[in-house]
């Protein structure tokens, strides 16, 4: 065999691939500072911080941001409870239809968002449920639950089931066992799953389009803003903010779940 080192061609291809993925992000960042507000001219005629001030002063942005934060927070909280319960139920139990339930549970994250969105919209229509804060939450919970479930069940699988028996054996009832043994063992998985769920909800567009009605979340606001050729850099300012808000929790989740095998493993 030849050397383990990658050849020049492969390195170049990898570099180009990464550049293709991330250079457009840099342009988003750059145009948040441009002095020209009608079209994305390159290079920008000048740089300014004024759009940050304009964005700060716009109440519609604040309203959209506040709605997105509330939706993401409630959807995440719901997902933490339901995802953990689902993982606990499917971890050790063996019953007829268990594999089907597992599949049905993780399916929403595999299904195209547009299918989920249309399905929810027609369901709300059939049941004559008016669009509200809660219809957005339900839409987002479909995929947030999966993210939490996947994180928690992975942790459960690495946790020795004898830990729970040991706790019961030492006199702890079900609640005490959950409080003192199960929860500390899945805490970082919950935090990671919760952060991912929050980030997913915060920048979700497709399902939201079908379940929000007249309400405007931040990503929906950005989408509608793109078609208006006025104060375009304000959209970029908001985009930079969204990148920051979603990147930080994802990085935290990555750091938290890195190398936790030894923490979650049995005392062997």
């Amino acid at each position: 065999m030849r050397s383990e080192r990658a050849g020049l061609g492969l390195k170049l291809a990898a570099g180009l691939g990464l550049a293709f993925l991330h250079v457009p992000m840099l342009f988003i960042l750059l145009y948040a500072f441009t002095t020209e507000d009608k079209s994305y001219q390159f290079p920008p005629p000048g740089l300014t911080l004024q759009w940050f001030a304009v964005a700060w002063g716009r109440q519609d942005i604040w309203n959209a941001l506040w709605l997105s934060v509330r939706v993401a927070a409630v959807a995440t909280a719901l997902a933490l409870v339901l995802g953990t319960l689902a993982a606990a139920a499917l971890w050790r139990a063996r019953f007829f239809g268990r594999d089907s339930i597992t599949l049905l549970l993780v399916l929403p994250i595999a299904l195209p968002g547009i299918v989920t969105g249309i399905a929810l919209r027609s369901t709300f229509g059939l049941l004559e449920i008016p669009f509200s804060f809660w219809t957005i939450i339900v839409g987002h919970a479909t995929f947030c639950v999966v993210v939490v479930y996947n994180n928690v069940i992975a942790r459960f699988r690495r946790t020795s089931s004898s830990l729970i028996e040991a706790s019961m054996d030492l006199g702890a009832d079900g609640f005490q066992t959950f409080r003192y043994v199960v929860l500390p063992n899945i805490a970082t998985a919950l935090l990671a799953g919760g952060m991912l769920a929050f980030a997913l909800s915060f920048d979700e567009v497709i399902v939201t389009t079908f379940t929000a009605g007249q309400q405007t979340t931040l990503p929906i606001w950005m989408l509608s803003e793109l078609v208006r050729p006025r104060q375009r850099p304000v959209t970029n300012v908001v985009a930079v903010f969204v990148i920051a808000v979603t990147l930080v929790p994802i990085l935290c989740a990555y750091w938290l779940t890195r190398g936790t095998e030894s923490v979650a493993g049995a005392g062997k």
Binding site: S160, S162, L163, E165, A166, S167, M168, D169, L170, G171, A172, D173, Q176, Y180, V181, P184, N185, S262, V263, A264, G265, A266, G267, K268
Partner: protein
């Protein structure tokens, strides 16, 4: 005081016609036995013989499908694990990885609501008992296998259980440490005076440590007795073969060797090579294999009819070892033959 008097008189654990099935598998099949108060009781058997299921039935992790289990006379039907007066040392120790050693040991006291100062004092005292004083601040991951084993023991014993259940607790340790822990466990049991129920597949461990042994096979108990009884007077061919090594002689061969068609078991160390005098049974054969074990040499001696006897020749007396191919005379006393009334295929 009434409870204490009851404790003195009643067996620590009673199994009465207990059965536990997993689908078609009869893990425990109509088993009855008693474990006496204060004894070191071993449950010995191959994997899948039902010994661990019996232990889990006592702990409350399994419920019997039939029959009843009592601990010191109190029926345990429907009593959850956290309300039973027993504690378990798990095979993988099951120490809580997110807690310090001290918090692990104090866990049982904590969930029972013992005040913090009191439980720390008692947990530290128990760590002293298992020779881990000063290790309380460490995490389980920072301890060696033998130390974790001791933490698991301390965590169980600090609750002062009426019965301590041990599920192959030395299985994960290497041989030297295992032998050392066998001695320590036995000494600890004498010190605390608690009934120990010890599950193992290692007959050497069971014989060396326990007051009585129950030999399990296919979900049933083949024999319960002291180590000497089980080894010297096995009631079935399975017990003879599982507890130590044995030559199982069927009725046909027995008729040829002794003149009586009664199957028996014969320990390899009870067969004398080139007996000087006084052997009740004498046979001749050819050495077909030889394995040197230090203290003794095990010989496969093929008799003229084709049957093979294993023979342990002690190396204490020295002298040349019999060579493969050599003709040998073997002899044994009538007392060495352990009758197997149910034959050798049980």
């Amino acid at each position: 005081m009434v409870a204490a008097a009851l404790r003195m008189n009643s067996p620590a654990v009673t199994f009465e016609r207990v059965a536990r099935h997993f689908g078609e598998v009869r893990a425990v099949d109509d088993v009855s036995f008693e474990i006496r108060d204060g004894e070191f009781f071993a449950m010995l058997g191959p994997s899948g013989s039902g010994k661990t299921t019996c232990l889990r039935l006592v702990a409350g992790f399994e419920q019997p499908d039939a029959g009843s289990i009592a601990i010191h006379g109190r029926p345990m039907r429907g009593v959850p694990p956290y309300e039973r007066p027993v504690n378990t040392v798990f095979q993988d120790y099951a120490l809580f990885p997110h807690m310090s050693v001290l918090d692990n040991v104090a866990y049982g006291l904590m969930v029972k609501g013992v005040a913090k100062g009191e439980r720390i004092r008692r947990a530290e005292a128990m760590l002293e008992v298992v020779a881990l004083g000063g290790y309380g601040g460490r995490r389980p991951a920072q301890l060696s296998g033998g130390q974790r084993q001791r933490v698991a023991l301390a965590r169980a014993l600090v609750n002062e259980p009426e019965v301590l259940l041990l599920d192959e607790p030395l299985g994960a340790l290497d041989l030297k440490l295992r032998q050392q822990m066998q001695v320590e466990l036995k000494a600890l049991q004498r010190k605390v005076g608690i009934t120990f129920v010890y599950v193992t597949h290692d007959q050497d461990e069971a014989l060396g440590m326990s007051d009585r042994v129950a030999v399990f096979n296919h979900g049933r108990i083949e024999q319960v007795g002291t180590p000497e009884e089980v080894y010297e007077h096995p009631v079935t061919a399975f017990v003879a073969g599982f507890v130590g090594a044995a030559n199982l002689v069927d009725a046909d061969l027995a008729a040829r060797l002794t003149g009586r068609p009664e199957a028996f078991a014969l320990r390899p160390e009870r067969i004398e090579v080139e007996p000087a005098n006084g052997a009740d049974v004498l046979v001749e054969g050819t050495v077909t294999d030889r394995r040197y074990h230090g203290a003794a040499t095990r010989l496969d001696v093929t008799l003229d009819g084709g049957q093979v006897l294993i023979v342990d020749r002690g190396n204490g007396a020295g002298g040349p070892l019999p060579a493969v191919g050599q003709r040998l005379r073997l002899g044994w006393s009538a007392a060495a033959m352990q009758p197997l009334p149910r034959g050798i295929t049980a």
